[in-house]
Symmetry: C2
């Protein structure tokens, strides 16, 4: 069977740094792409490339066979799916909805339950890899939901990412993303402490990285964000404020699972302090400022 | 100039898991190797391969042009260098002493000062890479001391390791090793929390590693020790009790430098709790037991 992507209409809700790149790739692959985002101006580039602007979530929902959401906070996800003018109130039976926002696992389960009752397929499929991963279509995509729905979304996932894994039932994608953020959280504290120690001890931190960046202390954070800390480059790859959002979801979810997370708690409290001192729009490596 | 290694007598003090492999490589390279360690039996294999057993630190010190120490705790280092029958009281002028034990940076400076007054060259050169790195001669060696002394030791370092870096003045090797251990410490907490979260959330943690082991959460600890945690394998690669020793040196050294290290402090307190419950002889990945 010849795949005719232009026959499948894909709706994108949320065109931030990530969503814009992701929608662009799908458009370039030949799909009919409908877009909606809060600030219409953001969509201009995509629309001039052939995307169809929709005036509301409702309008988009009635016209798309697959709807991808990439919004900000769980409260935004909730509004976009459960609002009176939201997706679930207006999408047709047989539609597939995919929330790629990093959001609450419980909310993902709730969306899936409601969608199921309406004959709508639902996946949670948050990503990691940041704006660079979105731009280069190298995102890691961690999905939760039924296998059939995953298979239906897979051609789109393959356009947007590289490392695509169905992690399990509804919510499993979000849970995996939480495991990802938890592994990063206290790890960032470790990286900051290590580089701050090197500087205070009078070492040349770049030379230190040559010794410690390839062995048992090696991490993506140390080699990438550590190097930015040393260079005094605090520009956002991933925003402090967004990481705080993710860690809050992780803390809440951990509590509900009965898991103690002292490292995560410590990281969150340090990042919140950092945001209070006006660095919420910096990159996560700005945590280093708390140790200098 | 033809190098005649057999003309240079190298003394090894301390033949634990690490020291034994390291001395073995030097012996195999053709050097005349003198050995001393607390338990004579440990030296048998090396002696049967051609190493010369010495009955005391004193005897070894008078017969070796280069003396390498790989002992346990800073107190052992202190005794071996500063004791009445120790290295500095008996080594000849022009000898090079190299402490490869992970030990206190201040002690390294003290050894260097005393050695200098005696006309003895001194380096601190702790390693990372563990028993496997020692066995395969792939250790990372981070050195502190004068360039001339480093150049003199380099042919031996190249026999024992791969990633060999002169980090700076005396103590800089130990400081770099501390930066390495600090980067690992809170990072291990993060890895444990992440895998414990995945399990509690009902995910398959091995599948989770497929999603998170290659992106921004990636670390040597996650991909190697995390995998052992999942498999329930707590056998020692690196002992809990030794990591505690290192972290205590790091905490003390950080305090002296005026550096706050909440992540390191947290990791140390969790590891001490783990040791108190009888797991000091397990591998560092056994920290996972505190989160299960």
């Amino acid at each position: 069977m010849v795949i005719e992507p232009e026959k499948i209409s894909v709706g994108f809700i949320g065109l931030g740094v990530m969503g814009k790149s992701m929608a662009g790739h799908v458009l370039k692959a030949g799909y009919e792409v409908h877009v909606y985002t809060r600030t219409k101006k953001t969509a201009e580039e995509l629309v001039s490339s052939g995307a169809v602007w929709e005036e509301s979530v409702t309008a988009l929902s009635t016209k798309s066979r697959i709807i991808i959401t990439m919004v900000g906070y769980p409260s935004d996800v909730e509004a976009v799916y459960f609002g009176e003018d939201g997706i679930l109130a207006h999408a047709e039976k047989g539609t597939l909805v995919v929330d790629m926002t990093t959001s609450s696992p419980d909310l993902a389960v709730k969306i899936h339950e409601k969608a199921s009752r309406l004959g709508i397929d639902a996946l949670d499929a948050p990503v990691s890899g940041g704006d660079l991963g979105a731009r280069n279509a190298t995102l890691s995509i961690m999905a939760g939901g039924e296998k059939a729905a995953f298979d239906k979304a897979l051609p789109l996932f393959e356009i947007m990412g590289k490392n695509i894994v169905l992690q399990g039932k509804p919510g499993a994608g979000q849970h995996t993303k939480m495991a990802n953020q938890i592994a990063i959280a206290a790890g960032m504290v470790a990286v900051c402490e290590s580089i701050a120690y090197a500087k205070k001890a009078g070492l040349d931190p770049e030379t230190v990285l040559k010794s410690i960046g390839a062995g048992a202390a090696a991490s993506w954070s140390l080699n990438n964000l550590g190097a930015r800390m040393i260079a005094g480059n605090f520009e956002p790859g991933f925003y402090v404020k967004h990481f705080i959002k993710d860690m809050k979801i992780a803390v809440e979810s951990s509590k509900r699972l009965g898991l103690q997370t002292p490292g995560l708690d410590l990281a969150l409290s340090l990042y919140e302090k950092l945001a209070r001192t006006g660095h919420g729009d910096k990159g996560t490596q700005a945590l280093f400022k708390m140790f200098e």
